[in-house]
């Protein structure tokens, strides 16, 4: 049975139930139960209309749950009398579901979990594994989130910016456990892009595709980090890069720039360069200027300083860095890199060691420790 097809159908089925008057939390539970039925029944009795099958079974589950006083019934689910697909269902309903799951009243962690469950159709166990928390904890997080949004009216316009942030959070979580969250985020963003023409949705999709295309080259055999300049570009996925660039260009052509489009443009310039030395750093700095104007983010300024170091030389990069707060994440790592390029290995080694202490992931810490070790070894000889 096709697991991903099943998951594609989840948001549409929830949306149908909610449109028929089910409250969100119960509808979502009912659909999860229908999915479990599907996993059991479909290998023996493949349905002609999977979505209609799921709607029928989920609706029955919902009615069962609604009749709380009815005795628990054990029964075989055999749906021979499949109804015809619903007329006029319901692309926009699914869009509403994205908004609901990323509702501003939810914490980012809750929004992420609810999106993966209700829009993505992942099981609670899969989500728990991906985020390395116990299943009971994740179950609580999801049911609290469902209670929170059950009070939200389903027909209110949602906040697309929040939806995009949630999807990007999922993407950045990457791939721990069995579930590839980056791939899942791309799938959900593709679905969203099929339902709305907003430029920033396309921008985020392009950004994800371009990052994802470089993933195979980003880590070595032992899981160690390989910096962009040293990556084997032959391992980049050119098909994904081409798709990302197409999506981005279509979005940029509409001339309504946003931060995801600008970030994707930077990623595209990296992906487009045949070698690291061919990277168009001058244009990358220009896109960082756009990003600074759009977001004012100090992290963006930090990245811009590194790009300036490539475009105009390490001293210019260090000067740009000097205007920023040293407490910024990765400040030491950026300073280390620029000091080394400026021919100051002792300062660079000190900064690398400091950056390793401040690193937030094990591969990053190990990479920075190796850089410090490399320079200190050179300095001794």
């Amino acid at each position: 049975m096709n697991d991903s097809l099943l998951r594609e159908l989840v948001p549409a089925v929830i949306a149908v139930l909610v449109r028929r008057g089910a409250d969100f939390a119960t509808a979502e539970d009912a659909v999860q139960e229908a999915l479990i039925e599907a996993v059991r029944a479909w290998p023996r009795h493949p349905p002609r209309e999977p979505k209609a099958w799921l709607v029928t079974v989920a609706w029955r589950k919902f009615l069962d749950a609604a009749r709380a006083d009815a005795a628990r019934r054990r029964r075989e689910e055999r749906v021979d009398d499949e109804p015809a697909p619903e007329p006029g269902a319901a692309g926009d309903d699914t869009l509403q579901l994205y908004f609901l799951c990323a509702h501003p009243s939810l914490s980012p962690a809750s929004a992420v979990a609810l999106t993966l469950r209700a829009v993505g159709g992942l099981t609670t166990r899969q989500i728990a594994q991906a985020y390395l928390v116990p299943e009971a904890t994740m179950a609580q997080r999801i049911s609290r989130a469902k209670r929170t949004v059950s009070r939200v009216r389903f027909d209110q316009p949602g906040d697309l910016g929040t939806v995009l942030r949630v999807l990007y959070l999922v993407f950045n979580e990457g791939y721990s456990g069995d579930v590839d969250l980056a791939a899942e985020a791309i799938r959900l963003t593709r679905q969203l892009a099929a339902r709305t023409t907003h430029e920033e949705v396309a921008g985020l999709l392009a950004l994800m595709l371009l990052h994802h295309a470089r993933r195979p080259a980003r880590t070595g055999a032992d899981g160690q980090l390989i910096p962009l300049a040293e990556q084997d570009r032959g391992r980049w996925d050119t098909r994904l890069i081409a798709e990302g660039i197409d999506v981005l260009q279509a979005a940029l052509a509409r001339d309504r720039l946003g931060e995801y489009q600008a970030q994707a443009a930077i990623a595209a310039l990296h992906a487009d360069a045949p070698t690291a030395a061919d990277t168009d750093w001058v244009q990358i700095v220009e896109w960082y200027d756009e990003l600074v104007a759009l977001t004012g983010s100090p992290i963006v300024r930090l990245n811009r300083a590194v790009a300036v170091g490539e475009a105009d030389g390490p001293q210019a990069g260090l000067a740009a860095l000097a205007e920023l707060d040293e407490a910024l994440p990765r400040y030491s790592a950026a300073a280390a890199y620029l000091h080394e390029r400026a021919g100051e290995p002792a300062a660079a080694a000190r900064c690398y060691a400091e950056a390793a202490r401040a690193a937030s992931t094990v591969p990053e810490r190990d990479h920075l420790t190796r850089q410090a070790a490399r320079l200190n070894t050179q300095l001794r000889s």
């Binding site: 060691a353 202490r357 937030s360 190796r370």
Partner: protein, 135 residues
């Protein structure tokens, strides 16, 4: 089976025999050390003795309640002399002797000059949540 915590310290434990900060090793020595730790965990996983492990950032802060309506008091980052836990590994093994043996192996991870670092690891048994049902 009984669970034990192997605790690795950044500072505060007795100094390792081969006590050279990691950024003063060669990159190859760093790689060899990390590989040893990784292989060790993988082997325990294969043998069914590995429960989990985690690395902690050296940045830590003490936090304390400071009374109604006041923000918590913080103290940190740590001064140089304070104990600092670097990370831990939890193992589930048949005996205390086995736990000591594994801790000894982990402490023999190669360090500067490719020689074992002879690092002190703290070994702490888990307290069980319930009594053993087998007699």
């Amino acid at each position: 089976m009984a669970k034990y915590l192997l605790l690795k310290h950044y500072r505060g434990a007795p100094a390792a025999v081969n006590d050279v900060p990691m950024d003063q090793w060669t990159p190859e020595e760093v790689t060899a050390h990390l590989k040893y730790m990784d292989d060790f965990a993988k082997r325990l996983e294969r043998d069914g003795e590995y429960v989990g492990g985690v690395a902690l950032s050296p940045e830590g802060t003490f936090v304390r309640y400071d009374g109604e309506g006041r923000p918590p008091v913080t103290d940190g980052p740590f001064a140089e002399t304070k104990d600092l836990v670097a990370g831990w590994m939890v193992i589930d093994v048949d005996s205390y002797e086995r736990a000591v043996q594994l801790a000894g192996e982990l402490s023999a991870a190669p360090g500067a000059g490719g020689r074992p670092i002879h690092e002190w690891l703290e070994l702490r048994p888990f307290l069980a949540n319930h009594a053993d049902t087998t007699e």
